[in-house]
Structure formats: C-alpha cells, structure tokens
C-alpha cells in the first residue's frame, strides 16, 4: 500500500467543533482510510483531560473549560498557538503509542533546532521544553490504534491564561513562545514544518529494518 496523507489547513477553529469532527473521522475510518493532519488554531479555551483533576483549574477567569477525552490534565489553547492533530493509524505504521509520542516530540525539537532553539524532553513532564519553560504540549487518544488529538506549539500567543491553571498538573510551570527566541518563524511554517518532520519519521520507520525505540518516553 502506498502511503498517502491529507494535510488540511483549517485556520481558526472552535474547539468543540474540531473535537466532534476528529471523533467522527476516527470512529468512522477503516484500515484503508488515508491518514490526515489537521492544522488549526483555536479560539481561547481550556481543555480538560478525561481523567483531569478540577483542582488544577485555579480560578474562573471567564474562559470556557471544555471536557475532552484525551489523556493528560488541563491545558490552554488560543490564537498564536500552532495546533497539529495527527489522525494516524498506528497499526498501518506498525508503531506503538510510546514511539509515536517520541516522534511527535522529535518533530518539534527538530523544527526548533533548525531555528537555533535548543529544546528538550523532560522526564515525567510530557511535552517539549526550552530550558524549564514549556513550549509544546502533547495529549492523545487512540481508538483501535487510530490516533486523534495531538500537539500544541506556542508560537506567539498570550501566555497569561496559563497562570490560572496548573498546566498538565504541574504547579508554577512556566511557558514560552517561539517568538521569544527568533524572528524566523510563522505559525503556518511551524505547522507544515512539524508535520513534514513527522511524515519523514513515519515513512522512515516504515522502511527501516529496525525501528528506533526510545529509551525514555512515557
């Protein structure tokens, strides 16, 4: 089977609508359905993980909190954040979730490195960090090995709504934007660039004789 991907640039989207659309796509897809990448920005919204603790929402600042079905704790989405939803069939790519999460992180780290921004993984703290400041959040769900939800990379957004939550369950976690480190960026470049990096890894993994398995992930 040849690998085909559809990349859909969707612009500024309402979170609930996108969530409904992702679920409809995922629960109706078949083993023949091509993988898709949805590139979006969201209007301001907090999203809570399925098993997320309400205690991590520190105060009501008027921004809506939407209950969702992904893993992880509460996070914030808003304009100026590059959101990528990889709707991928892990079985087709013969990938485990752990390896897939590692690939997502790597695609973000590589895109940042190309702009001379050194980003890292932090053990027991999902996502991608520059120093101790979080630049990218990850939260996923899979149904019969079909992945949905994805990653959110802070490009040039208002970070202040993160102050009213314990993002991902961590107290006093600081956030940062790509725009704090470089002028060489745009939100759409980030979406397509990270997406391309992920596709390269997916195609590489498919044809590599021996897949790289992360030593630390999870």
């Amino acid at each position: 089977m040849s690998l085909r991907y559809a990349i859909r640039r969707m612009g500024l989207c309402d979170y609930r609508q996108t969530l409904n659309d992702m679920r409809a796509f995922t629960y109706n897809r078949s083993p023949d359905t091509p993988d898709e990448f949805w590139l979006v920005e969201h209007q301001p919204v907090y999203t809570q993980g399925e098993a997320g603790s309400p205690a991590h929402i520190l105060r009501d600042n008027g921004i809506e909190v939407v209950a969702t079905d992904r893993g992880g704790q509460v996070t914030y989405h808003g304009p100026g954040q590059a959101v990528i939803y990889p709707l991928i069939d892990l079985k087709r790519h013969q990938l485990g979730m752990r390896t897939f999460v590692y690939m997502l992180e790597q695609a973000v780290i590589d895109w940042l490195a190309a702009r001379d921004i050194t980003a890292v993984r932090v053990e027991h703290a999902p996502g991608v960090f520059v120093g101790e400041r979080k630049i990218c959040a990850i939260g996923l769900r899979s149904y019969r090995r079909y992945v949905y939800h994805g990653l959110a990379l802070n490009i040039d957004m208002d970070l202040s709504p993160f102050n009213d939550i314990n993002p991902c369950g961590f107290q006093r976690l600081k956030h940062t934007n790509v725009s704090e480190y470089t002028k060489n960026y745009s939100l759409v470049d980030a979406q397509f660039g990270v997406c391309r990096g992920l596709i390269d890894q997916l195609d590489g993994a498919r044809y590599a004789q021996k897949r790289h398995e992360p030593e630390t992930a999870g």
Binding site: G96, M97, R98, G139, R141
Partner: protein, 80 residues
C-alpha cells in the same frame, strides 16, 4: 483455554498504565473486534480491542489502578 491479558497484548511496549474504564464485564463474550478497556499513560488514553475471542472470566484490575507490564489485567477463556 484460559489466557491472561497483559499490557503487552496491546502492542505498545508500555512499562505501566492506569486503567480508565472497562468496556466489558465479567462473563461477557468478546470478539477480537470489541473494545476491552481504555487505559492512560503519561500522554495518551488508548481504547484497546480484545486480542482474542472468548469469554471474560476475570477482571483483575479496577478503573483507577495503575498496573505494570507484569500484572495481568483480565483473564479470557479463549474460544476453541
């Protein structure tokens, strides 16, 4: 034949996971197309189908429990 089900049956090489929800009950008949349970790792919730056809005879782990890869999650009497 009775078969214990482990995290490894879902093909993700996970060290541990937290059970979120059982989608079956004891004594349910399942096929390898039925969702058995959902569980969560640090970043992902996975809704996982049964690896075998058979009858669920035990659910060892409850929702909220964190289990490692050595711990059986359920037992299924596999259809011959």
């Amino acid at each position: 034949m009775k078969r214990d089900i482990y995290l490894n049956d879902f093909g993700d090489m996970l060290e541990s996971a937290t059970i979120r929800q059982w989608h079956v009950q004891k004594d349910d008949q399942v096929t390898d197309d039925d969702i058995l349970l959902s569980f969560e790792t640090a970043k992902a919730i996975m809704e996982a189908p049964s690896p075998v056809n058979g009858k669920v005879t035990e659910l060892y782990a409850s929702a909220g429990n964190t289990v490692d890869r050595q711990t059986p999650l359920a037992a299924i009497e596999v259809n011959e």
